[in-house]
């Protein structure tokens, strides 16, 4: 008679059990902000298609302190998303060889963040230029 009885442990609450997983869940949760922000933009786009009055109503609504508060939070969350996105980047791409040496993870993350900063600056500049 075979006496084996392997015990399978439950996965309940696994993400609370290790700081690494807590961090993972937090960066996954940034998606909620991305979704909500996309929803707001989508609504704005709809209002834009409905004419000037509708658009201006939407613009006014954005001044509501609740909206401002939300956007501040979203700014933090999505910035964190940016940081974690590039932090994982070295794990997701083929090794980059520069001058016979493998580029370090830190260098890849750093370049990613630098590109994001440059793109953001360009965007701001563009909007500023167009608005003037």
């Amino acid at each position: 008679m075979n006496k084996r009885r392997p015990y399978v442990r439950s996965m309940d609450g696994w993400w609370k059990k290790n700081p690494f997983f807590v961090e993972y869940m937090i960066h996954e949760a940034t998606a909620l902000f991305v979704a909500a922000y996309a929803g707001i933009l989508l609504f704005g786009l709809l209002r834009l298609s409905q004419g000037e009055a509708a658009w201006n109503e939407w613009l006014m609504a954005l001044k509501n302190p609740w909206y401002i508060g939300f956007h501040l939070l979203a700014l933090v969350a999505i910035s964190y998303h940016t940081y974690t996105w590039f932090k994982i980047m070295p794990r997701t791409m083929p090794p980059v060889i520069v001058g016979g040496q493998r580029l370090s993870a830190w260098a890849i993350t750093g370049s990613g963040l630098a590109v994001a900063a440059a793109a953001s600056a360009a965007l701001l500049g563009l909007v500023w230029g167009m608005a003037r």
């Binding site: 075979n2 006496k3 084996r4 009885r5």
Partner: protein, 595 residues
């Protein structure tokens, strides 16, 4: 009891066992192969080998050189015809492993690179960084998956051979996960269970290296040959015994005593030069280096550490970059286990038991005197290592003779009829009774751990680097006592699933048998040769009386019987074993007298 019908069963999933299994599968794909191993094959101790595997590679090298290094290194106790076969097949086997995917380190133009090793005249050691054994084992294991005829019995612990009609016809093994026994019927059996280093206290070996297969064959009347020759490796971690590979010295590391002096030059290995010279100083053979340590210790020129005396392995002058590239594992070991950064501080080292030169007596085709039984790898004594093995010859041995054992076992299996299943099963059931009895019996009072520790200590005391009749006698007596006390052993664990205490008890019984063979062979060899060095009036080599292989025969309930067998000498007559400048001079003279 479950029965599995195989044609060839291989006990041991290390380098030798896997190579044998593949050889059987390639010889005849219709043969059913059972590969029984007490650990998953990639856990086998071959995984720990660091430095490399020897095979003539460079144009300046020759088979004759490799032959001479091996025979001289073994202090002429080698079977020279077998050494001939060995050196002629190393390179082909290493190339085969390359074809199977082994990540050998390369030269810039893409060829396999070779490095220097102790006692080798020319660089001929193939290496995969300092994880050679690891890569060889994983390559063999993963390649073995390609062959559907190999049926693995992973984590199955072999407890006996089944011998009937004068030939071996199968094995009995415990499935560790359930504690159930299985009979594996077979027409031939290959034993490849590795060495027995763990009968000693401080050693470089893994927990699984307990001499099981040696004891199994021995109990069935197969002699264990040359068991007194146990190699001490000169550069090990104090306390744990973990190894710092010889490649550290091959790459140019120094051994220095407490005054920072390269003491090897005082022991006939000089002159001391800043860069490594083959077969000199730090690249002398292991027995000589370990002996030099002992003398330094006597002279009070070693350094006192937490775990006994040490000398320093100094790698600082090689620089961090080279160390990280060539010796990455060593770097991490030193950093993590000892808190030493080898690029900035010397590593404290001392000798520890490393390798068993002797083993199951087999001929040059790996056949034991018991028909149907073959052996390969460290558990066997095929005759290439003599009284002292050269570093990097063992890994090559696994390949060359693993293959021979597989081919021969396949041939034998096809030449005989299958056995009578009913009577084999009956024998297996008797084995089950005996083995389970060890677990279920009550009333004992001895702890396994205690017996094991006493055994390991007495082996170190009596069969160390230098030996005396008196201490060896004490060791023999102690082993007799331990065997008696073993009868009174008590297991706390009577259960079936993963009962490792039970397995430890069975292993201890194996170890005691093997230890006895070692100690009795040692006390009977009244000379000094290779790794067997005496200080009690037998300091010299004695070719008249002892140019012979010792053979230990099992005697139930008593001390082993020791007798001797001839040594096959073909082209190399026993000469002086000299290294360093003296070695070069001796070689010149040999050459001169030959022409």
């Amino acid at each position: 009891m479950e029965t599995y019908k195989a044609d060839v069963v291989i006990v041991g999933g290390g380098g030798a066992g896997l190579r044998a299994a593949i050889a059987v599968a390639e010889t005849d794909p219709t043969l059913r192969i059972a590969l029984v191993s007490k650990v998953y094959p990639m856990r086998s101790h071959t995984v720990a080998a660091e430095g490399g595997s020897a095979g003539v590679k460079q144009a300046t090298d020759s088979l004759e050189y490799h032959f001479n290094d091996t025979v001289h290194g073994g202090d002429w106790l080698c079977e020279q015809d077998v050494v001939d076969y060995f050196v002629a097949h190393c390179t082909e086997e290493l190339t085969q492993l390359e074809h199977w995917g082994c990540p050998w380190s390369r030269t810039p133009d893409g060829h396999v690179n070779v490095r220097a090793f102790g006692g080798m005249k020319i660089e001929r050691t193939w290496f995969a960084a300092d994880k050679t054994g690891f890569h060889m084992l994983h390559t063999l294991f993963q390649t073995s998956i390609k062959y559907p005829s190999i049926k693995r019995f992973d984590e199955h612990f072999c407890v006996d051979l089944i011998v009937e009609e004068g030939r071996v016809q199968g094995v009995v093994a415990i499935e560790i996960a359930s504690g159930e026994l299985t009979l594996v019927e077979a027409r031939s059996v290959v034993i490849a269970t590795g060495g027995a280093g763990r009968v000693f206290r401080e050693n470089t070996n893994g927990g699984v290296v307990t001499g099981d297969g040696m004891a199994l064959a021995y109990r069935h009347g197969v002699p264990l040959r040359d068991m007194e020759f146990v190699q001490y490796h000169p550069t090990c971690m104090p306390g744990t015994g973990l190894l710092f590979t010889e490649a550290c010295r091959g790459e140019g590391g120094f051994l220095v005593n407490k005054d920072g002096y390269r003491y090897l030059q005082d022991y006939g290995l000089g002159p001391a030069e800043p860069t490594p010279r083959n077969k000199a100083m730090e690249l002398g053979p292991r027995d000589r280096l370990s002996q030099a340590f002992w003398y330094e210790q006597q002279k009070g020129r070693t350094i006192e550490g937490l775990h006994g005396s040490v000398v320093h392995l100094d790698l600082r002058h090689l620089g961090e970059e080279k160390l990280r590239e060539r010796l990455p594992q060593i770097y991490e070991l030193a950093e993590q286990f000892m808190g030493v950064d080898p690029a900035r501080a010397p590593i404290p080292v001392r000798p520890a038991v490393h390798y068993t030169m002797g083993g199951i007596l087999v001929d040059g085709r790996c056949a034991a005197p018991l028909p149907g039984l073959y052996a390969a790898g460290e558990c066997s004594s095929v005759g290439i290592h003599g009284a002292n093995r050269l570093g990097s010859n063992s890994l090559s041995e696994l390949l060359v003779f693993g293959k021979v054992a597989g081919v021969e076992a396949a041939r034998f299996a096809k030449s005989v009829a299958p056995g009578n299943s009913a009577s084999l099963l009956k024998q297996a059931q008797a084995v089950e009774q005996r083995i389970s009895g060890l677990k279920t019996k009550t009333g004992g009072s001895e702890r396994i751990a205690t017996l094991r520790k006493e055994m390991a200590q007495t082996m170190e005391d009596g069969c160390g680097i230098y030996r005396l009749a008196e201490t060896m006698q004490k060791t023999c007596d102690k082993l007799d006592e331990l065997k008696a006390r073993f009868k009174n052993v008590n297991l706390e664990d009577k259960s079936s699933v993963w009962n490792t205490e039970w397995l430890l008890a069975i292993e201890l019984e194996y170890q005691l048998d093997v230890a006895q063979a070692m100690a009795y062979s040692a006390i009977n060899r009244r000379e000094s040769r290779g790794a067997h060095q005496r200080l009690d009036g037998f300091e010299a080599r004695d070719d008249i009386n002892f140019l012979q292989h010792s053979q230990a025969h099992y005697v139930a309930g008593a001390a082993p019987r020791i007798d001797y067998g001839p040594v096959k000498i073909t082209k190399s007559q026993p000469g002086t074993r000299a290294y360093g400048a003296a070695g070069e001079k001796a070689e010149q003279e040999r050459k001169a007298s030959n022409v």
